[in-house]
Assembly symmetry: C2
DNA sequence: TGGCGATTTGGCAATATTACCAAATATTAA
DNA sequence: TTAATATTTGGTAATATTGCCAAATCGCCA
């Protein structure tokens, strides 16, 4: 892996890093249903507004969401919509995993 | 977000967390081309064998890869193949991002 | 202008991740 | 059994992430 390759992998890893938090994952799913302001998102989780803001900043910085200020409120929307495909992939994989483990327990 | 939901998001976030490292991302791409032993993977990156082993352990623990011992060597293979779809998604998104930024600079 | 609500930013302590070294384990060969 | 190779595990220091509080911004309205 040369330095250029490395830089590319680091950038891509950054996107995964941004998704590697339950709250942020939850926000992405929320935004998949349509744009929401920070206040709405804050109301759905048990966390300080500043914490929510920082999570959204991470997602924005990774290019996953975009924000738009309207009045005194800031609305976030999902920008990298293809990430939703990740979720079903992971979901299915985890379900299969669970099923396999169950079978192993039952069989063994 | 109730505790059950939270647990689900934490589990899924775990998969992203496992992918959130350039070296691990690189390994996944390598394994997409076919199984490889730890020694082969170690040779492709500039890191200690123990470091490589731990990275592979993270991927394995997340259910992304599977390992099989044959003789004194351990072979890893890609198990959650759907993650490859992530890569093209992220890749394309990053390219579009770069293009947009370029246009912004040129236009502004 | 002054105050209020919405959001971001700075700072900090707690926690988690990472990478190396050294040591342990396991397998093969002599 | 002993030596050599492949891999994992334990320990540890450096670094990064997280979440709260307090303070700063920004926009709106009286």
């Amino acid at each position: 892996m040369n330095p250029d390759q490395r830089a590319g992998f680091e950038r891509r890893a950054g996107v995964f890093k941004a998704l590697a938090h339950p709250t942020r994952l939850f926000f992405v799913e929320q935004l998949a249903m349509g744009e929401k302001c920070v206040c709405e998102l804050t109301a759905t989780v048990d966390a300080d507004t500043s914490t929510v803001s920082k999570h959204l900043g991470v997602l924005k910085n990774a290019g996953i969401v975009a924000d738009e200020k309207r009045g005194s409120m800031v609305f976030y929307r999902l920008k990298m919509t293809c990430v939703l495909g990740f979720f079903s992939c992971v979901q299915k994989a985890l379900e299969e995993e669970a099923k396999a483990q169950l079978a192993a327990v039952a069989g063994g």
